[in-house]
Point group: C2
Chain length 117, copies 2
DNA sequence: CAGGATCCCCTCTGATACTG
DNA sequence: CAGTATCAGAGGGGATCCTG
């Protein structure tokens, strides 16, 4: 059987650790819908994310090669983010999860509310 | 555009909050492969999870209705866990992520190692 | 405008010990 | 066997202030 037990050796863990980030998934979804975006556009679209966490999330996604960061050497600074090919390849997976979530949330919420111990 | 901004109202967040749990995904994968399992069987299969966290994970999955918990009133106690229909419906999504992760991990690790700021 | 740096809280998590 | 209870440490995450 496959070994899922530690993060470094397990590809699933590696990917899930990104998914598990509170914001990275949303960043991918938003960039998937809107295409190229600037920092503050992302900030507005995602809503209640702090600037710090948005920055951290963007760095992780950039490090993994899921998004590309393009800096324009102008004043005031201009930085644009967009999905890479790898990011675009990953996007459908998130959409499937999103679709499943919408389709089954009501059931899950009902289950959760009935669950008492 | 959809509102992803807060956890209670957002189905995607609700589902991702489960995926993001360090162990719940592994529990689903293992139960998907092995079928019905007892607590200690799960514990051995998953490896480095603590008993406490395994219990917490199982409760969350049970509350959401992704797994079923069957207690046998015997001594010593016997408890069996298995995926519900909802859980089985969810399983392919995790497999897709797992497959994608295996296919792309090398690229991601390479990207990550090259990324310096 | 796009973030880096700090401070701090608070939850998640693990270790240990105990129980029906 | 299958948990529960408790405690302590680490780290995620937000608020605020500052800079090229």
């Amino acid at each position: 059987m496959k070994d899922f037990s530690n993060t470094e050796n397990c590809p699933v863990r590696n990917v899930l650790d990104r998914l598990s980030d509170k914001w990275t998934t949303l960043v991918i979804l938003v960039l998937g819908e809107q295409g190229k975006m600037r920092f503050n556009e992302l900030h507005k679209n995602i809503g209640d994310v702090s600037e710090k966490m948005l920055t951290v999330s963007l760095r992780k996604l950039e490090a993994d090669g899921l998004i590309a960061r393009q800096v324009f050497p102008v004043i005031p600074p201009r930085v644009e983010y967009q999905l890479t090919d790898l990011g675009k390849d990953f996007l459908p997976l998130i959409h499937r999860i999103s679709d499943w979530a919408h389709a089954n949330m009501q059931q899950i919420l009902t289950n959760r509310s009935r669950f008492k111990r």
